[in-house]
Amino acid sequence: MMAGTKVRQETVRQGIWVSVCRVDQLRVDVGVAALVGGEQVALFRLDAEEITAIGNLDPYSRANVLSRGIVGSRGDTVFVASPMYKQPFDLRTGCCLDDPAVSVPTFDVRVLDGVVQVLAPPVSDGPDG
């Protein structure tokens, strides 16, 4: 793991780490999409240290577009606003800030030797277990 890089790993999850890009390909607050084991994932670099990943599928429009939203903050919460109908999703939890009943999956991310890796969930299971 690259020194000084913090990754979100709240729960121990099963799966395979898939390399998606170099960390210097990610610009702060500019999302990118990646294909991880058949899942469409939106990656966001929040600052020099923190990188998060959520599902790219916008549950409202059912289009894979969340990586193309604008990143913003509400208090301490960092969110991406869907580019389709503007619903904000917490980049750390996947929860929709305007409707707690709606959320998108989150994925674990780590950086190894300057390469960003996303934990691809096991095929048989859903992304959140």
């Binding site: 990118v32 894979n64 619903q87």
Partner: protein
């Protein structure tokens, strides 16, 4: 309990008939009733009150039902069809085309017909009435070979007709038998003030003039003879002396009519036949006919209410009038002639400016009974409700009409006070809209109040009152009218714009670090990106700004519902060579894109995936095209007609100017999208007055209109300056657009900006034309800076590997198409297939309408 569906027949599809159907649909009457509407005119209902503007805007603009049918299958609208008989026993109507329709309830909204006095010569060619669009078309046709026109009748309608004749370029005379103009609404002094205004426009007014005959040669009008005066030579005569209720059908089937005409109805608008109602100008509640639209609307609502089992009554109407006649404000309300015993008159008259104001007050000066305002009717919004509600007058009532007087105090209005008399909206209703409720947040601006309550949406005269109510209500509730952009910036867009300019700030990061909090959001980021783009020449996808852009700007395309984008190459002025057209067609064919012609005279190509955008644009750029900025809050198109070059009627080269303007302002970032139009003559085929800036050619040059738009809240552009040469026109436009960009709110179109800016259009004109702020040179320099720095965003992107790197489907699989995007074929082209995994309808949680649809 089950009900059989019943059938309602409505005779007449004018403004009141249309309102009736609207109310029937909105209030659920059509749940149980089928409605059949017979309209005699070939057109669906249109705004007859604004008939004079027909020459400027055409029939389509006036239409109240532009779609031609109602969005309710239980309403059948049959136009161009007169009802010829009513069989009350069988409850059937028969139409001129022979159709027989049974009814359970019949509503007559047959309106009125112009009264033509029995003068000798009234049937000569060149004599007209003023009531329908067809009448105006006839008048326009006749005006082509005429030099002079006379309008008989100096009342409200007569002056409207005179305005129309005047607009057609004829020497215009108004002949009124009474000793003054608008004898029903104005007193002698008010009428005289109005005459001065109207004569200043070049219209000749003859009052106390009794027409004796219309003279003619070979069956054509040549002159009008007046008792005790010189005859007036004329080619055209318009009768506008009054209306008669159209009650012939009712008479023929034996329904009771009033002594002076009109179908007699009770307070529920029911006629002597229990199954038949009458509403609008054909009806005579209590024997009295109302020739205004507002009482007609009220009657329509009453009948719908009664059919639904309600208890609504029509108990007379406020006959107050406020209008702008040939640019002159005139208002009249209540007891204008001080007919109340003991009443007193307070008069203010300024012969220089032509302002005349009169208040009629009770003998103890505690109550306002009526009034007249000519030349300045700004106090109307405050005064009229005072009459209706009987609110006590302030200590010094003259303050209400003196020019220094504020005239805006909300002198103790009660909740029942009607603020908007057109839509019958009370102060209480408006205040509840401002306060909001659990389901709905309160309104914080006039636009919101308009859409929630309909107040101020018809004649607009109450808008100042609404504005004051809003400010007062918010202040008393301790709610501040916050102009903070969002939680990250405690200032308005205009303040941010000035800050960026003064401190020469060049990045969002620097701006938010010094003047904001947090990391920004989807509101402030694009707003700041737009401000930076207006002030610098940097590419919008530059390192510092790319993360600020809405997805449309970030990918230089318009995001569509399935995650693909649409592509619009610029076609300046809508002029496209056959080779260009073929090139676009080839690109669309090769990438299998859905193609559609836009309203902005160009071609939209849909269904492009992110990774296809650079490939598509490589082809388009090679074929000579550039970005059309359909994705940006920026200039979209300048629409044009073919103008003088081809058109028989064109008087200037509108296409050439449109191209020049579109190329001048292309890429200009603004608070909202900007559209322009140039028409080569007054027929206005380019619909320029529906645009943020519209230019209309005249024999002498160009007329410039600003503040128009279509969309959710359509607005008609208003005149900023007339008869300009091309250089002056461009100078004014440079200033206007830059002033707008500097001072408007985020996502505020020019129309809303003009409405909200202190001083309104007059102020903007004083800045743009008279340069009262001394900023004209700055504004022009800003625009010159923009024009000099313009670059095509797509060519620049294609030449920059770093920018292109973002146009990939997946960062780890750049050329793999998004597997969830799929299409089906419809009418020979692609369309998105239903959203992935959605057996249920697609969820759109937001109740708001997304802003900024393409073009």
């Amino acid at each position: 309990m089950t009900h059989l569906r019943q059938r309602l027949v409505l005779i007449g599809h004018g403004m009141v008939g249309h309102r009736f159907v609207q109310a029937a649909i909105e209030r659920g009457l059509t749940e149980r009733w089928d409605v059949v509407v017979f309209g005699q005119e070939p057109r669906a209902a249109y705004d007859r009150v604004a008939l004079t503007s027909f020459f400027e805007v055409g029939a389509d603009e006036l239409s109240l039902l532009p779609e031609g049918e109602y969005d309710d299958p239980r309403v059948r609208l049959v136009l161009d069809t007169a009802v010829t008989t009513i069989d009350r026993d069988a409850r059937e109507v028969t139409t001129a085309s022979g159709e027989v329709v049974r009814y359970d309830a019949l509503v007559m909204a047959t309106g009125s017909v112009p009264f033509v006095p029995p003068l000798p010569g009234r049937d000569l060619a060149g004599c007209f009435v003023y009531r329908t669009i067809e009448d105006l078309e006839d008048i326009r046709q006749a005006a082509k070979t005429a030099t002079t026109g006379v309008v008989i009748g100096g009342g409200l309608l007569g002056l409207e007709a005179a305005n129309a004749v005047h607009q057609l370029g004829l020497a215009t005379h108004v002949v009124e038998m009474a000793p003054r103009l608008m004898p029903v609404q104005l007193d002698q002094a008010g009428g005289a003030a109005l005459v001065r205004h109207i004569e200043a426009l070049g219209v000749t007014v003859h009052t106390g003039a009794a027409t004796e005959a219309i003279e003619g040669i070979d069956g054509k009008v040549t002159a009008l003879t007046i008792a005790d005066a010189e005859p007036i030579e004329t080619d055209l005569v318009v009768f506008s002396v009054g209306i008669r209720p159209e009650d012939a059908l009712a008479r023929a089937c034996g329904i009771e009519v009033a002594e002076r005409g009109g179908i007699l109805v009770d307070e529920t608008c029911r006629t002597s036949d229990k199954a038949i109602y009458a509403i609008g100008e054909c009806a005579a509640p209590d024997g009295k006919v109302y020739g205004l639209v507002a009482p007609g609307y009220a009657m329509a609502e009453v009948v719908v209410d009664r059919l639904l089992g309600g208890s609504g009554d029509f108990t007379g109407a406020d006959m107050a009038t406020k209008l702008k006649l040939m640019g002159v404000d005139v208002a009249s309300f209540g007891d204008v002639f001080a007919a109340t015993p003991g009443s007193l008159e307070l008069v203010f008259a300024d012969a220089v400016t032509g302002v005349y104001k009169k208040l009629v007050v009770s003998n103890d000066a505690t109550r306002l009974l009526g009034g007249i305002l000519v030349g300045d009717a700004s106090a109307y919004g405050v005064l009229r409700p005072m009459v209706a509600s009987g609110i006590p007058l302030p200590e010094n009532p003259e303050e209400l009409i003196l020019p220094a007087g504020r005239g805006t105090a909300q002198v103790g209005m009660t909740d029942e006070t009607v603020v908007c008399s057109c839509e019958n909206v009370t102060k209480g209703t408006i205040c509840s809209a401002i306060d909001g409720s659990e389901e709905k947040p309160g309104c914080a601006d006039v636009a919101c109040i308009k859409s929630c309550t309909k107040a101020g949406t018809v004649c607009g005269s109450c808008v100042p009152t609404v504005k004051n109510l809003l400010a007062e209500r918010l202040a008393s509730a301790g709610r501040e009218v916050s102009n903070a952009l969002c939680e990250h910036f405690a200032m308005s867009r205009q303040e941010l714009f000035d800050l960026v300019a003064v401190k020469a700030i060049r990045s969002f990061t620097a701006l938010i670090a010094a003047h904001g909090t947090g990391r920004g959001c989807d509101i402030c980021k694009p707003a700041v990106a737009s401000i930076l783009a207006s002030q610098t020449s940097a590419h919008i996808l530059a390192e510092e700004t790319v993360g600020l852009q809405d997805t449309n700007d970030a990918f230089l395309g318009n995001l569509q519902r399935n995650g693909t984008y649409s592509v619009v190459p610029r076609v300046p002025g809508g002029e496209l060579t056959p080779d260009g057209l073929i090139a676009i067609g080839e690109v669309a064919r090769d990438f299998d894109l859905y193609t559609k012609i836009t309203g902005g005279q160009r071609i939209d190509l849909f269904g492009a995936r992110v990774e296809q955008l650079p490939l598509i644009w490589r082809r388009l750029v090679d074929a000579g095209f550039e970005s059309g900025h359909a994705y940006g809050k920026s200039l979209r198109t300048v629409k044009s007609c073919v103008g003088q070059t081809w058109c028989r009627y064109g008087v200037q080269d509108s296409t050439k100017l449109a191209i020049e303007l579109e190329l001048r302002y292309r890429g200009l970032r603004s608070p909202h999208k900007l559209k322009g139009g140039v028409s080569g003559c007054a027929r206005e085929c380019a619909e320029a007055r529906g645009k943020d800036f519209g230019v209309i050619a005249t024999e002498k040059g160009w007329n410039l209109y600003v503040g128009g738009n279509g969309g959710f809240r359509p607005a008609h552009a208003v005149e900023l300056a007339i008869d300009l040469d091309t250089a002056t026109l461009i100078r004014y436009l440079d200033r206007f657009l830059m002033f707008y960009i500097r001072t408007a709110d985020r996502l505020q179109r020019t129309s809303a900006w003009l409405e909200s800016i202190e001083g309104g259009l007059d102020y903007v004109r004083s800045v743009v034309v008279d340069d009262v702020l001394g900023v004209a040179a700055d504004l022009e320099a800003d625009m010159a800076g923009h024009i000099g720095a313009y670059q095509d965003e797509w060519s620049a992107t294609l030449a920059d590997e770093e920018k292109l790197a973002r146009f990939v489907s997946f960062i780890n699989a750049p050329d793999t198409p998004d597997p969830s995007i799929s299409f089906v074929t419809e009418r020979g082209q692609i369309r998105p297939s239903a959203a992935e995994g959605s057996a249920e309808p697609v969820l759109v949680a937001s109740a708001s309408i997304p802003v900024g649809a393409p073009r």
